[in-house]
Amino acid sequence: MNWNEHLPALILIIPLFGAFIAPVCSLGGKTARNILLVAISFLTLIVAFMLWRHVLANGISYYVMGGDKFNLSLPSGMALPVRIILEVDAFSAFMALCGAIVSFAGALFSVNYMNRFTGMGRFVSLYCLLTAGMIGMMVTGDIFNFFIFIEISSIASFGLIAFWRDKPTAIEASFKYALISQVGSMFILIAAGALYGRYNMLNMAAIGSVLKMGSMEKLVLVFLVGSLAMKCGTFPMHMWLPDAYAEAPTGVTCLLVAVSQASLYGLMRVCFSIYGATMGSSFIPWMLIVFGLASMFFGVSMAVVQHEIKRLMGYHSVSQVGYMLLGLGVGLLVLDDARAMADYGFTAIKGGVFHIFNYTMYKALLFLTAGAIYYATGKKDLNEMGGLARRMPYTTFMFVIAAAAISGLPPFNGFVSKLLIYESSFAVHPFLAVVALVTSVLTLASFVKVFQTAFLGPEKSSLAKVQEVPAAMLIGMVVLTAAILGASLFPSWTLSTLVEPAARALVDQSGYIGAILGGGM
């Protein structure tokens, strides 16, 4: 048998296996558990990479769970796909690769970071489950299964955010997230049910092939867009995000960044692949742009006045998600206008997709550096820090790279994706580009503040005994730094191999549909 055919299933099997075996493995002591955590996330990374290579070489790959053959999507001449189908196109594979890199870095970081806490068997279990849920959201081709995976990842993240149960704020943040995400999931489920009642199908590609806009479909679209935008932290619904990001253990925060990107993936999948050109009106694209602008500007202006390091970065997550929504919204706006699409729309989508990669890498790295500071000093308030650059040189170096990348300073990858977004959104209306530029300036301002107060300045007497963090944590950060530097130094290579196939797959609605409905006969 050819393992390449089973890669879409394997990428789910491996983290699930890790989640199930973790309680047994933790009987073997600390070392066995840590090896399991790192090995599982590393294997996931390898499989994600192979899947990505496979998809780039052979086109969309899909997988029928429990079918007689892995690619029998329409058994015995049926007109509709019936089983649970995983569908991986270049965009999904790209997202899964990003998620797997971040998951690996977070696992390496957690080995030392979580060393002194009990209940680590459960931690490893939930971490693997969160990875499985995140990757499941990215590879599934079935709207109900998307709901299942969103719930798996939500439940795992409630547990992980409240992992330090003796910390009142962690419980509070977890409760807020649990409440809002439960309400949001119910909206998603009602949308999936409505689509099923209308078309008797749950497969995204099959629904996309027969969808006709009516008031029901409009409401379904709104429910899906609203809920998934809430999950990735768009402006009026973002309040849970800084709380949850700030209070979770840092290795988990790093993974939560990737999980919010999985929700963004779902949003894009709904908008581009299910609805696509049949959406008709430009209301939803404009709403995505408006949400994007609002989250950009208000997120960053909240971040400027924060003085708790992880909370500040949490508000930056809100503002960075705005860039992606802006880029992809501009692309969605001109989806059925071939000339504008070639003119600036595809550039906007490329910018948005590239920003997803960049954001996942540098934001995860920023959270890891914040966690390293917390590990070394035991403090998370910027007022109590100072002069850490001499004590923690490697962390400082990586923080500077990440901060420069997130603020869009020229040599780094954040600049490239932001440039693509500025110049293409300028073609729609100059105001969009102006807001994006102002946001970038404010981002730089708030990271200058973090850098100046935490790393520069005179040493505090209370921080005299601070040391550099252990090697495993540094390696976790180095993985992400290497990804950032690679994307910064070779932007055209990254764009042509990593980003462009993903962007092309995203706009290619008929390809996504045809892979399922044309195969296996």
């Binding site: 429910f223 009026p236 309040m239 006045v305 910027l382 005179p458 130094l489």
Partner: protein
């Protein structure tokens, strides 16, 4: 691999930027190497220059805490920040409320347009 990234209106070239960095670094290091190493130690030449003021012994006294950074910015935008911070009440039901209102807004308007 080292090529240019075309944005439709212009392009970005990483290698040119890196080249510029090397040139700038060369000039900086060259300027620095012009400095004199035969200054007199222990005299005023050795002192830290801090805007002509006395340099305090303990640096901790003169640091600006993070919550006071950008004080002017915050003061100038006082009404804006008052509204924005007033929105972040931190009450769980308010968070859900904003979400439900946003979805209801979208639902009403998508049916109208």
């Amino acid at each position: 691999m080292w090529g240019k990234v075309y944005t439709g209106f212009g392009y970005w070239d990483a290698s040119a930027w890196i080249l510029f960095f090397f040139i700038a670094a060369f000039f900086t290091l060259w300027l620095r190497s012009q400095g004199r190493s035969d200054y007199k130690k222990g005299t005023d030449q050795d002192e830290i220059y801090w805007s002509g003021n006395e340099v305090p012994e303990d640096g901790e006294d003169i640091t600006v805490p993070a919550s006071s950074a950008y004080w002017g910015f915050r003061k100038a935008l006082e009404p804006f920040y008052k509204g924005l911070l007033g929105m972040h009440t931190g009450i769980a039901t308010d968070i859900v409320g904003y979400y439900v209102i946003a979805v209801a807004f979208l639902a009403v308007f998508i049916l109208l347009v």
